[in-house]
């Protein structure tokens, strides 16, 4: 029985691999070629690609192969003739194009391009459970495609990457960046001054056909100053109301659709000694995170987006409403929220002493790991609104192992990579070409998220770097954190107005 299942899986995976190799032409890049008579590198390039300029691709691919299998020749001088019987490796056109995109005659990248080897330093803030496993799955795929490269996993822990960015930035200014680093899709890229420090990925997007497989909303988000600076690996939803099903069933409650419903439920639960809604704000970003979800609800998708582009003023009454909701929520939260992080607070929901929590869908990974059967719904007012964020990987101009980065980015954007990564990470693939069979492999929450993603209005998350530049995010965060103690709606709104003016001027 189990063997049959395994067999079926193997066959399915094999089929998938074949399909994938057709779809992206990259899974098994290239073929072996034994020179029948003495020839030159350029002649071989001309023969296979109709363009002798591809000699760099043939040389790079063969030398990489040589590192693992010395029966392939080592080409040290491209000008010398190639003897009869010499074994070469001819890459696929897609591989060669990707390779030649980065391997121009530049003394910094050229040697590594032509001779292979070296490292790939991948910097991210993924250290916990599912996310680390997802990253490891990407590394596995990368190693298959580039066995000559040693992958270095350089992580800096900390939720939402606040600590991470503080470490990466000085390294970038100092000209010593990792080869590729994690970046939220959206205006967060402004904080890295990409025109100066990052490589635009437009040509790679065209080569890989990403401008066709990533959804329009996401592509818009990724475009900054007219260029793409990162390759997205996933989509997360920021606005999810998690609720303890057992408590809701016990008191005959249904997930609230409006804030009036919410507070009615909250009163019922408070009377029972249950914390109606729990919050963990030890990181300082969790309460502002909840607030962005509230704001999307009171303002609606169009106005919420407008707040960040300057089309809607922050004096709008929907901002006042959102602040009033947050103020009222604070009467119902657990008193120790300043001592708890986003994940430690979920213990309340697990223990049944807290009923609801607003957090992004990475919380699902926590619930699954702890075996909690959790309920989910959009927070009040946000049905049909998907507050989204996406993790992407960038390409610093000064990457020490630039020659090894294009394959990494291609893996990140590939269907194979995205499925392997997201099933473990607990997010949904950014690509739109996921088939129903592939979708069925994801857990029920993620399947519902995929449905919502296809149907809902997509708006960008602030706290997770999509909607605004980092200095504005910091101000926004500070205003909400002050508000938690001061509870002064008018003062907070004034400060939000000023923060917007400073950012949009």
């Amino acid at each position: 029985m189990r063997q049959a299942k395994l067999l079926r899986r193997v066959v399915l995976l094999g089929l998938l691999a074949v399909l994938l190799s057709i779809a992206i032409g990259a899974a098994q890049p290239g073929q072996e070629y034994v020179a029948p008579a003495e020839t030159t590198l350029k002649a071989v390039a001309q023969q296979f690609f109709g363009n002798e300029g591809y000699w760099t691709g043939v040389m790079g691919a063969t030398n990489r192969k040589h590192i693992q299998d010395p029966s392939f020749i080592l080409i040290e001088n491209p000008e010398l003739p190639i003897k009869a019987g010499a074994k070469l490796w001819i890459p696929t056109k897609a591989w060669a194009d990707r390779f030649m995109w980065v391997c121009y005659p530049d003394s910094r990248v050229f040697p590594q391009c032509l001779f292979g080897g070296g490292q790939l330093v991948v910097a991210s803030w993924w250290t916990a459970g599912g996310e680390a496993e997802g990253l490891a799955a990407l590394f596995e795929i990368y190693k298959e495609e580039a066995p000559d490269v040693q992958v270095v996993n350089a992580t800096i822990a900390g939720g939402a990457g606040f600590a991470f960015r503080a470490v990466i930035k000085p390294r970038i200014i100092a000209g010593n960046p990792p080869d590729t680093f994690q970046l939220h899709a959206g205006l967060e890229v402004e904080g890295y001054e990409p025109e100066k420090y990052l490589k635009p990925l437009d040509d790679l997007y065209a080569l890989e056909g990403w401008d066709k497989v990533f959804p329009k909303d996401l592509l818009e988000l990724l475009l900054y100053k007219g260029h793409y600076w990162g390759v997205p690996v996933n989509i997360h939803r920021s606005n999810v109301l998690w609720y303890n099903k057992e408590i809701f069933a016990r008191y005959g409650l249904t997930p609230p659709a409006t804030w009036a419903d919410f507070f009615a439920i909250a009163d019922t639960l408070k009377a029972q000694g249950i914390a109606p809604i729990v919050l963990g704000n030890a990181g300082g970003w969790e309460a502002p995170h909840a607030f962005e979800g509230i704001l999307a609800g009171t303002c609606g998708a169009t106005k919420y987006k407008g707040l960040w582009t300057g089309a809607v003023p922050w004096t709008d009454s929907c901002v006042t409403d959102a602040l009033n909701v947050l103020k009222r929520i604070l009467d119902y939260v657990n008193p120790d929220y300043a001592a708890l992080t986003w994940d430690t607070v979920l213990e309340y929901l697990k223990a049944g002493t807290g009923a609801m929590n607003i957090m992004g869908d990475w919380a699902m990974g926590w619930f699954m790991a702890k075996g909690v059967d959790i309920g989910w719904a959009p927070p009040p007012g946000t049905k049909g609104i998907y507050v989204a964020l996406s993790d992407s990987f960038s390409f610093p101009i000064a990457a020490p192992n630039a020659a090894n980065v294009p394959i990494w980015l291609a893996v990140c954007g590939s269907k194979e990579g995205q499925i392997a990564f997201n099933m473990r990470k607990g997010s949904i693939p950014a690509r739109t070409d996921i088939t129903p069979e592939e979708k069925a492999k994801f857990n029920p929450y993620l399947q519902s998220a995929m449905d919502d993603w296809a149907r809902d209005a997509i708006v960008p998350s602030v706290i997770h770097g999509a909607a605004a530049v980092e200095s504005w995010v910091t101000d926004f965060k500070d205003v909400i954190n002050l508000f938690l103690a001061a509870k002064d709606v008018k003062d907070a709104q004034d400060k939000l107005v000023r923060a917007a003016q400073a950012a949009l001027k």
Partner: protein
């Protein structure tokens, strides 16, 4: 005569050469970077790559008008006052107790001094657990739980999660760490009071309290000054304890300027504002230390 002069010059050259590397290194890495930070604080550097366009004191004006910085300065004042005063008082009391030639003095001395051997990060993590208030739903934790068990439930507090007293909770941890050190300083001071003086006072009919007041305390004055300087500059620069223990806290009730400096520079890319905060901190520390240096240099000159 000539030979002696040459040798003297040769020795001088060697000593200058030996001295030079440290002068150059300190000059560059301490004073050079102080100067550079000062320059940054007057610049328009508000994105990742440096921009040294000078904008005068705009960053300082904005900073002093910023709500977070105002809260931070208030917190710092409360923290410093509480931390320095309580550490001195506790340290002094502990030293007097230990000075009574009790049995097992070495044991107690080690116990009181131990917290100082920890880094503020460790202290911060431990006190974050100890002062985690817990909640009615999940039960009390840490010190609150202890109070509850002792039947002192009415003394329970939100500690650092209560915006009204946040920074006081941080100060408690800092006092715990440093009062043992103050004790060691005072104990050394107490031991240096000549026994003859005490004897003489006793002969003159002074009570033990009067001896402490009129004989011992004047002896301890330089130690108190030194302790104030050491505790004061630790307190003004406090950062790691806050990071490890609380973060900025609800409504910035645990926030300090050094934390704001870090967030300004490396989160918001406002390097100029970060530089301005750094300079303000430097000025505050120098207000404390420079007079002390002058004072002690003069004293040395007199001796």
């Amino acid at each position: 005569m000539l030979r002696v002069g040459r040798r003297f010059r040769g020795e001088r050259l060697i000593s200058v050469l030996l001295f030079l590397p440290s002068v150059v290194l300190v000059g560059l890495f301490v004073y050079g970077f102080i100067g550079w930070t000062g320059l940054v604080s007057l610049s328009n550097w508000n994105k990742l790559s440096p921009d040294y366009t000078l904008v005068g004191f705009r960053n300082y004006l904005e900073l002093f008008g910023h709500f977070r910085f105002q809260i931070d300065m208030r917190n710092l004042a409360v923290f410093t006052a509480l931390f320095v005063a309580t550490s001195l008082l506790l340290g002094f009391l502990l030293a007097i107790l230990l000075d009574q030639r009790i049995r097992g003095e070495g044991f107690f001395r080690t116990i009181y001094l131990y917290p100082m051997s920890l880094s503020f990060v460790v202290t911060g993590v431990v006190w974050r657990w100890l002062l985690n208030p817990g909640s009615p739903q999940m039960g009390s934790a840490g010190i609150n739980q202890l109070l509850e068990r002792l039947g002192l439930g009415s003394l329970k507090s939100g500690w650092y999660t209560d915006p009204k007293i946040g920074i006081i909770a941080v100060a408690i941890a800092a006092i715990w760490q440093m009062s043992g050190y103050v004790m060691a300083l005072y104990l050394a001071g107490l031991r240096s009071v000549p026994e003859e003086l005490r004897e003489a006072a006793r002969v003159d009919g002074a009570s033990e309290l009067q001896i402490y007041r009129h004989v011992v305390l004047p002896f301890l004055r330089p130690i108190t000054l030194g302790a104030v300087i050491i505790l004061g500059h630790i307190s003004l620069k406090v950062y790691d304890l806050v990071v490890a223990m609380t973060g900025p806290g609800t409504g910035f009730s645990c926030d300090v300027p050094a934390y704001f400096m870090w967030e300004s520079a490396f989160h918001a890319n406002r390097f100029a504002r970060g530089g301005a905060i750094a300079v303000v901190l430097l000025v505050m520390v120098s207000l404390l230390i420079v007079p002390y240096l002058i004072y002690s240099l003069r004293r040395e000159a007199r001796v």
